[in-house]
């Protein structure tokens, strides 16, 4: 058990228990863990994005080994070939940094404009194809297939297909904006809402299972770190945190009575 793993385990247990203390109420331990998390993650993301983005992709492409700019002595060999186009993101990136000054605030607009442009251009078609087109062909159901039973709980059947057809169309009509939902159009959208509610209830049920399993993962790590080899870190820290919170709440009660 190296020293670094030991220290690491104690830090991990302290931070884990401090975040869990939030369930009790907002307290100093949660504030500490929250601010450590914000500080560390901001720098962690800065490091990851520099070393996996700017360093290989930008510098790698502007200063490749014996590329045109290697007279400057700068060389970053990532097996990329030289690409002059990468001056454009360099320019927009620097402008983004300069926009921190009040006077150059407008400089961020170029970077924003480019980002929104590719959001609209790249994403729009993907959604049209996979979300709209494939789903339309999937919603066309066969009602008189050869060996299609009238009802069968797990597998294709005429009843299931009718429910699918009705459900898809009525829920789609709920999102129809140009008509007030009254009269028999209102009845159709009401059926649509029922299907949507079943769909939300189902995915909520799925979510409950997923979230519980994450708690299983955390408790397993806390149990692992409470072993003698980590000299009972979880038990010690749990005792200390609870004692401090207990004392803290008593002092608070006295101060406001």
């Amino acid at each position: 058990m190296t020293l670094s793993a030991m220290i690491g385990a104690w830090i991990a247990v302290f931070l884990t228990l401090s975040i869990f203390s939030y369930l009790y109420k907002d307290n100093p331990f949660y504030k500490i863990a929250e601010h450590v998390f914000v500080g560390v993650s901001a720098a962690y993301v800065a490091a990851i994005s520099f070393w996996t983005q700017i360093y290989p992709n930008l510098l790698g492409r502007l200063f490749p080994k014996d590329g045109p700019l290697s007279f400057t002595g700068l060389e970053f060999d990532f097996n990329h070939s030289f690409n002059i186009l990468y001056v454009f993101p360099l320019l927009l990136g620097l402008m983004m940094i300069l926009s921190v000054f009040q006077k150059f605030n407008w400089m961020a607009r170029w970077g924003i404009a480019y980002t929104v442009a590719i959001a609209a251009g790249l994403k729009a078609f993907g959604y049209l194809n996979s979300n709209v087109l494939n789903q339309v062909s999937a919603s066309v159901v066969s009602l008189f297939g050869e060996n299609l039973p009238f009802f069968n709980i797990s597998g294709d059947s005429v009843f299931n297909n009718i429910v699918l057809l009705l459900g898809t169309i009525s829920s789609l009509m709920y999102f129809y904006f140009s008509k007030e939902q009254r009269g028999n159009f209102g009845k159709l959208t009401r059926v649509g809402i029922y299907f949507l509610m079943i769909s939300f209830g189902a995915s909520f049920g799925f979510a409950v299972m997923g979230r519980i399993s994450l708690l299983v993962g955390r408790f397993r790590e806390l149990i692992a770190y409470s072993e003698p080899s980590y000299n009972y870190s979880t038990i010690w820290l749990l005792f200390l945190i609870i004692a401090f919170l207990f004392y803290h709440s008593i002092r608070e009660k006295e101060s406001n009575t």
Binding site: Y30, I112, A119, L128, G145, S178
Partner: protein, 253 residues
């Protein structure tokens, strides 16, 4: 595929041209969530508490984040008018700059530049859960009267909604992230579900060109329903052997 995209563009342009002839805005049904935003701003002013606006955790390369920032513009207009304190913690620096542009513009058009302060919109961190931890902290300590969540969300949506609920704030959510809609529906007071969220900016802007986009969407929806029904009928006939072709496989979607 090219044909379909062209037809979507064509329908949109056709609808926009239609609005040129009548000066009356095309009719749109009411969306409860949007009316509730104005109420929420009013309530916060009375209670003298800030409004928290969370524009999602993704960057401007997501259409939902851009839509969220546009809705922020309209909310900033309201907070300028009612002189309410607005707090916008963001998880991406590009979103921070866009949100600042939008809110400064809103405060200028309302003629209240002195109320606008750049640090209303402030960066926390890029990481999803560190951002969620910080926003939870802000909610517990500043106790906003209204919390608006507009943009793309992942698992942390329930962290916001449950904390917001525990401090008794009005919560209005809008997102196109399908997996998170159920959490917002169960834990928030109002939810703009998927397409309602994308229509929100047009609703609030009351501009003919933008509302025309929505009527175009409605027209496409009707066409889709017709295609589905027609496809089902043709498949039924095909299965019964009365017809030799199946419409859907024919046009090869």
């Amino acid at each position: 595929m090219f044909v379909l995209t062209l037809s979507v563009i064509f329908i949109m342009l056709y609808e926009i041209r239609l609005t040129k002839f009548t000066d009356k805005l095309p009719f749109l049904r009411s969306i409860p969530g949007l009316k509730a935003i104005e109420e929420a701003v009013g309530r916060s002013t009375e209670m003298g508490k800030p409004i928290l606006f969370v524009p999602g955790i993704m960057d401007m390369n997501e259409v939902e984040t851009v839509a969220g920032v546009v809705v922020l513009g309209h909310v900033a207009n309201m907070t300028a008018k009612y002189e309410t304190e607005l707090d916008v913690p963001v998880a991406r620096a590009i979103v921070m700059q866009a949100a600042r542009q939008v809110s400064k513009e809103a405060y200028l058009t309302q003629g209240r530049p002195e109320l606008y302060n750049e640090d209303m919109v402030h960066y926390i961190t890029d990481d999803q859960f560190a951002y969620a931890a910080a926003v939870n902290g802000i909610m517990q300590r500043d106790e906003p009267a209204a919390c608006l969540y507009m943009g793309k969300f992942f698992a942390e949506s329930l962290l916001f909604a449950e904390t917001g609920n525990s401090i008794g704030a009005i919560q209005i959510a809008g997102t196109g992230s399908q997996t998170q809609i159920p959490f917002f529906v169960t834990a928030c007071d109002y939810t703009l579900m998927g397409e309602e969220f994308f229509a929100a900016s047009a609703y609030l802007s009351q501009e003919a060109d933008l509302i025309a986009g929505i009527t175009a969407q409605d027209l496409i929806k009707v066409i889709l329903v017709i295609v589905i029904l027609f496809g089902t009928v043709s498949r039924a006939l095909f299965d019964l052997g009365l017809v030799s072709f199946d419409f859907i496989t024919l046009i090869g979607i």
